[in-house]
Symmetry: C3
Subunit: 155 residues, 3 copies
Amino acid sequence: MDQVAEAIDPAAVRRVIDELEIRNILARLAHIADTASINELDQYLALWTEDGTWAVLSGTSLPTQEQRGHAALRAAAKARREAGVQGPGTNSRHIVSTNVVEFESADRARARSYFHVFRDTRGERPVSDSVGEYTDTFVRTPEGWKLHRREVVQG
Amino acid sequence: MDQVAEAIDPAAVRRVIDELEIRNILARLAHIADTASINELDQYLALWTEDGTWAVLSGTSLPTQEQRGHAALRAAAKARREAGVQGPGTNSRHIVSTNVVEFESADRARARSYFHVFRDTRGERPVSDSVGEYTDTFVRTPEGWKLHRREVVQG
Amino acid sequence: MDQVAEAIDPAAVRRVIDELEIRNILARLAHIADTASINELDQYLALWTEDGTWAVLSGTSLPTQEQRGHAALRAAAKARREAGVQGPGTNSRHIVSTNVVEFESADRARARSYFHVFRDTRGERPVSDSVGEYTDTFVRTPEGWKLHRREVVQG
């Protein structure tokens, strides 16, 4: 009770607002992976900083790679759709959960999440394609929080 | 630092309180699907507005349908239990994650989530029955946030 | 609009800060299960109260048991790693989601979550080992929220 009566640190309030914004971006990225077509990738890039980096550190179904900047990120997302790995028609579902969000400063946060990707979700039994982990760095920008770096480890 | 020192918008604080309430309801609905018996469905209906609608838009194991209002929602939940699809004894688990919560106004929110339903969870190996997505509309009521409409897409 | 203009209850603000801290601990416990070695278990115990209890009420792959206090919790975590059930090299992933967090008082909270454990995550297809539920009691301590009791039901 006494603790509730204590003044609340405005920085702590700021952080919960920021954290929920980041948690929503984490889920939005997953939805976009499954449902955004090649023509709808602007909404994907809007979640990334201009110099954002998507790095696959080790893969079971994805080759290791590093893509930096909007043009490269867009090309890689397009290539995954062309390869039938994600996007509309592939019946994939990127389930993202077990998220930890930590702040390195007021304007920079780290998130660690687990992913579990299904494919053939309209078949008789959905097929687990891969699981693994995202280690993300988010930064605050004038347009809200954006993803600055995502490291993907499959397995 | 400067940004933390800025005054915090009370509406933003209100939204994080509301968003966590909604996120808890999303999980509670899943728990109820797995563990509430036919005699315990009042707790299920308490999470819905009186005119709430549960709509299966496309299904792999569920038939497409639309149920509106507490009486219809209760009857459908009872029927799923009688069919052995959910509820105690079916050993189902509705895993709900990858939630995005967005506010259309101070009193109305949309949530998009992924579900992954297990059955036979006590067998040697749990069986993935279906995955898919919920698109939900929540509204603020004098008794707290309630689900107004759930659209279910399996697959 | 009127509702936003209303004064916000400081206790409600306190709770969202607390709830996100608890949600982060729930995910951290899962990450530690998968990646902390026997020599890194201090980070595991730091999340538990001194008298914390880990109780397996019913199991499909784990024997029912109750471990109380840091020494017993450490020994059990060490034994699970020695048995190849979790920790580095086992390629397990503890996916934790569908979390409900409720406050019994300002300093005590209950959480209910679903888990889904993968093993062999680097094989051709990840294997679902078990699913089930955690029922947790968290308490506020001078060093932040800590887990006081976890009840595990597999299945």
